[in-house]
């Protein structure tokens, strides 16, 4: 796989991933574009730069673990896994079709390299804690990264996990909150507001790093800060735009779970470039 810390290369990969997302969901005629697009820079930075992993040897015991707890954003994960060489690129457009390895939500039965089958919100952080605890037991340098949605953290289990991680000082886990401010039925602030977010996590014993979730350099620095933080779990509160990169999807709750039409696909691809 190509590994790079170079900004322009990572930006170019992010563009490809955005194109993949639009094409996949367009072809499937169903799926979740908004929350896939908001997480592009986060996943690209992790998979191409930050995480230690080997697509040629997915079972490498010392690999870093990645969990897409907000499993409905599967297209961004599938694109990144295909672009890094875990899975075939030429099948991306079979997303959500019967028999496809690219299931509607990440499914380990079809892609064994996935660390977790997700789609039921709220469980991924706890699962990651188990992996992080196992790494500690094994004296492994493996780190665990968990991407959460802001709507998702309304689930009580997230806060049980947050409390556990803080109390037990689990410093080999990093949560990344895709804080795009929109959930399924509308804006988070109208449904079940989360403010003050940084204070909530800090009070549970987490090292909180606020970051622009579309700024790759800032993300690189934030992940480095998380790694350097000992004795505490870290969370990146990534300020993102739902639907980022496609003007008519940006900040538009409609595109949480609605696929672009054929015309919209063309328009979106033109905009992404």
């Amino acid at each position: 796989m190509t590994r790079t810390s170079d900004l322009s290369e990572l930006q170019s990969i992010a563009r490809t991933v955005r194109r993949d997302i639009i094409e996949m969901i367009g072809a499937a005629k169903s799926g979740h574009p908004g929350g896939s697009l908001s997480a592009v820079e986060i996943l690209v930075t992790l998979y191409f730069d930050v995480m230690k992993h080997d697509p040629a040897n997915p079972a490498w015991p010392l690999r870093d673990r990645f969990i897409l707890s907000k499993g409905h954003a599967a297209p961004v994960l599938y694109s990144v896994m295909a672009e890094t060489g875990y899975t075939p690129k030429d099948q991306l457009n079979t997303l959500r079709r019967i028999g496809s390895i690219y299931q509607g939500h990440p499914d380990r039965r079809f892609i064994p390299a996935l660390e977790a089958s997700t789609g039921s919100l709220g469980v991924g952080l706890s699962l990651g804690l188990g992996m992080a605890e196992a790494a500690k037991l094994d004296k492994s340098p493996s780190r665990t990264y968990v991407v959460l949605g802001d709507g998702e953290i309304q689930e009580g289990q997230i806060w049980e996990a947050a409390m556990y991680a803080g109390f037990h000082k689990i410093d080999n886990i990093v949560a990344i909150l895709d804080n795009n401010r929109i959930q399924l039925d509308g804006w988070v602030k109208d449904i079940m507001g989360l403010d003050p977010l940084p204070e909530k996590w800090a009070s549970f014993g987490w090292h909180v790093i606020e970051v622009d979730g579309h700024d790759i350099v800032a993300l690189q620095a934030a992940f480095a800060e998380a790694e350097a933080t000992k004795g505490k779990p870290s969370i990146l509160i990534a300020h993102t735009v739902k639907g980022k990169g496609v003007s008519f999807m940006e900040n538009n709750p409609k595109y949480h779970g609605v696929a672009p039409t054929k015309e919209e696909v063309e328009l979106a691809l033109k905009e992404i470039g």
């Binding site: 169903s30 496809s100 939500h105 789609g119 009580g156 399924l184 079940m192």
Partner: protein, 320 residues
């Protein structure tokens, strides 16, 4: 016999649920609804729009929603809580057990997107164990309407039912089976066709498939009785015992894990009354996958043709 059903495509049962809620809300100020960030999918948004002050948005927190609903219901409200079946039952089970079933609170719980027919979203959102879970809550009434007419009527009845109720609804549009004047009674199954050789018993969207299967079987000379058990618990013992005695052969078809759903409950009645040949048609000890709803139903053998295959197997055993 089965040919008398035209089976024109109607609305999804989740939509009929949402419309019934609005009617209930108009007629009775005591009706309240809780949602967990799926109001557009469960159609509770219709109620939320009409009666915003009686609509409780709980965020993505199903367990919390169930207990809030239980609190509303125990304070004299006619309270509904709704989400995908998989989430409201799986995430809210402890709360349903302790705050609702065990406490004798008449909460109305509605799970939409049941079964595997949701299609593209795949198994994490599918519910192939909801009949089992709901039926294992002591004292619960469990309802699974086959079409929009049944759903509309049964939601309205459930609201004033004295105990806790779980209602199973589907995502996809389903054929209309019932005429507008059809009467439904909680706990009483409906015999849709006469028949003396074989009985097909079903619930939810598989009822229409059984009617289509019956048409095929009739063409082969098999006199086929079809029964809709829209209430799974308490189960209609009389209609089952009668079918067992009169046809001596029963096939149960359901969009649910075959070893823990409607079939085993029918079998219990059959063995206690008039033991006869039985076969069970459902999802076999697995989770399905993503795909178009009709493709998923086909791959996992939830079509009329598949039910007919199981029926022929049962008939062969009956002949000995």
């Amino acid at each position: 016999m089965a040919a008398k059903y035209e089976l024109k495509l109607g609305a999804a049962t989740r939509e009929a649920f949402g419309k019934a809620l609005v009617e209930l809300g108009k007629a009775d100020e005591n009706v309240v609804v809780c949602d967990a960030d799926l109001s557009k999918s469960t159609f509770t948004h219709l109620f939320g729009k009409e009666f915003p002050n009686r609509f409780f948005s709980c965020g993505i927190a199903e367990a919390n929603m169930v207990s809030i609903g239980a609190g509303l219901a125990s304070s004299g409200k006619i309270a509904f809580v709704a989400s995908f079946s998989a989430f409201v039952l799986n995430k809210g089970f402890e709360q349903l057990r302790v705050n609702v079933a065990y406490s004798g609170i008449p909460l109305k719980v509605v799970g939409t997107h049941s079964g595997i027919s949701i299609g593209e979203d795949g198994p994490s959102q599918m519910s192939v164990e909801d009949i089992s879970l709901a039926c294992s809550l002591a004292g619960f009434t469990v309802i699974s309407p086959a079409d929009e007419v049944a759903m509309f009527s049964l939601v309205k009845q459930a609201a004033y039912h004295p105990g806790a109720v779980f209602i199973r609804a589907g995502r996809v549009k389903v054929p209309v089976i019932y005429g507008p004047d059809q009467k439904f009674e909680i706990g009483k199954g409906i015999q849709l066709t006469e028949g003396t050789d074989l009985t097909l018993i079903s619930t939810g969207l598989m009822v229409a498939e059984c009617l289509k299967a019956a048409e095929k079987l009739e063409a082969e000379g098999v006199s086929t009785r079809v029964i809709d058990l829209h209430t799974i618990k308490p189960i209609d013992r009389d209609i089952i015992a009668k079918a067992a005695a009169e046809t001596g052969c029963i096939v149960v078809a359901e969009e649910h894990l075959v070893d823990s759903g409607l079939g085993v409950r029918v079998a219990q009645v059959v063995t206690e009354t008039n033991p006869c040949v039985m076969e069970f048609h459902g999802v076999n000890n697995t989770y399905a996958e993503s795909g178009l709803p009709e493709e998923v139903l086909e791959k996992y053998k939830m079509t009329a043709a598949d039910v007919a295959v199981t029926a022929r197997k049962a008939l062969a055993r009956k002949k000995g």
